[in-house]
């Protein structure tokens, strides 16, 4: 428990929040990396997954991409990208890795969400004379929504975690507090950094769960 109280002391020391290596700046970097890359990943994955799900093609791709994503170590990708010529462009390797690891959960969940919409409901909608566009916007999308949000949540947690690992490849973000703690052999700082990262990850997940409920298009309606 001693380590925890020391970590608490570290966290409540004003000096540790200021400057380029301070918590404030690192948190800013972390949120900037994570937010940008999550947005880019959504722009890439969601249109593709929703389109494929709507026309019912490319299922093998959508599912396999998440299996491949699981077998590839995030750290290896970060380090490999850092050693390529891309590594000369500052944050670029981290940003690419973050997008790469956010795409699979988004793609797979959105695709499965679209395909799991009850075929009878789709047929009924067609029978009522809905066009493909109406079917997509008014039937498939609302019914696929819970899984799309699951994918978004997974991707967000993944992105926060990957941004932490970026510190091991020499990039910024909150993980830097942990790696600096390791090289200083300062356990209090390591634990303090870990608490910050864990809190951020859980906070992001919590916010997205709440947001998902508020924005649910089926909210207040009877489920089919």
């Amino acid at each position: 428990m001693n380590a925890l109280s020391e970590a608490f002391t570290w966290l409540t020391t004003a000096a540790n929040w200021q400057g380029e290596k301070g918590i404030g700046h690192r948190l800013g970097e972390h949120l900037y990396f994570s937010g940008t890359c999550l947005a880019v990943a959504c722009l890439i994955a969601l249109p593709l997954a929703l389109r494929l799900g709507h026309i019912g093609k490319g299922g093998a791709l959508a599912v396999n991409i998440s299996n491949v994503g699981r077998a590839v170590p995030t750290l290896a990708v970060l380090v490999l990208l850092t050693l390529t010529p891309l590594g000369r462009y500052g944050d670029l390797p981290t940003l690419i890795a973050l997008v790469l690891f956010a795409v699979p959960p988004l793609l797979t969940n959105a695709y499965i969400g679209m395909r799991e919409v009850d075929r009878a409901v789709v047929e009924a909608a067609r029978g009522m004379g809905m066009s493909g566009r109406q079917l997509f916007l008014r039937v498939e999308l609302p019914l696929a929504y819970p899984l799309i949000m699951t994918g978004l949540r997974s991707a967000a947690v993944q992105v926060v975690a990957t941004a932490t690992l970026a510190a091991m490849a020499g990039e910024g973000g909150l993980g830097r507090i942990i790696t600096a703690g390791f090289s200083l052999q300062d356990t209090a700082q390591v634990v303090a950094g870990a608490v910050l990262v864990a809190a951020l990850a859980l906070l992001v997940e919590g916010v997205l769960v709440a947001l998902g409920k508020v924005l649910d298009p089926m909210r207040g309606r009877a489920l089919p």
Partner: protein, 238 residues
């Protein structure tokens, strides 16, 4: 790529590297496999009782599933760092962190497998005079085996990848080579270790698939799929 040249040129692919540093690669791979195997075996040993308890009482199921889900959201670097005061720089730290991650997938899959056991099978076992232990061991667990092994496969592949992060405390198997390759800008070492890591995950997955087919031959005869948890929804911590 002949002889020493690729080492001097710092090429990505270098046979000379693999030849001269084969012992280093073997040691790292052995450590990697050891950490992964220990984590999965301990993870199973912890997950099975947890799943059985969760099935017995709803009051227990909620907290167990909730807690393992929360653990899963904690980034790996933070997880290992939080364990530092308890374990110091040791392999036990890495194994403990990986066990905690594996619990999420394993408990869920075992629970799903047990809950998918047909009520008739249970009734029949009871009617034949099976006690609870024998019923679990001879009827329910075998029927839950496909789901359990599906969970083991997912957990193993994820664990192989996550073990690399153990490099932060010098017990990361191939991750150690990746990190030292980064520090010395040694491209062949980083690429070789990374490729070995992915190969390890693929080989482990195929071996477990073979084990699954061997242990549950009936799943191939029946047309229906095994009552596995759909794997696509699972996402790994990084």
């Amino acid at each position: 790529m002949d002889g020493q040249n690729c080492l001097v040129e710092n090429d990505w692919v270098c046979a000379e590297y693999v030849r001269t540093r084969s012992q280093e690669l073997i040691d790292a791979t052995v450590q990697h496999v050891g950490i992964t195997a220990a984590s999965i075996v301990i993870g199973l040993a912890v997950a099975l009782p947890l799943a059985l308890l969760a099935r017995r009482s709803k009051a227990f199921a909620g907290p167990v599933l909730g807690l393992t889900t929360v653990l899963y959201s904690v980034p790996s670097l933070a997880m290992f760092s939080l364990l530092l005061p308890l374990f110091g720089l040791s392999a036990a730290l890495v194994v403990t962190g990986l066990v905690l991650y594996s619990l999420t997938v394993l408990v869920r899959n075992i629970l799903a497998g047990l809950e998918a056991v047909p009520a008739e099978a249970r009734e029949a076992a009871r009617g034949m005079g099976y006690g609870p232990v024998r019923q679990l061991w001879e009827v329910e667990l075998p029927l839950a085996l496909p789901a359990l092994l599906a969970g083991v496969r997912i957990a193993t592949v994820a664990t192989v990848a996550l073990t690399t992060v153990g490099a932060i405390v010098d017990y990361g198997g191939l991750g150690g080579l990746i990190m030292s390759g980064l520090r010395s800008d040694f491209k062949a070492q980083v690429l070789t270790a990374s490729v070995l890591c992915v190969l390890l995950a693929v080989v482990a997955d195929l071996l477990l698939l073979a084990l699954q087919r061997w242990l549950t031959p009936w799943t191939r005869i029946r047309s229906g799929r095994a009552p596995g948890v759909r794997t696509a929804k699972v996402v790994e911590p990084a």
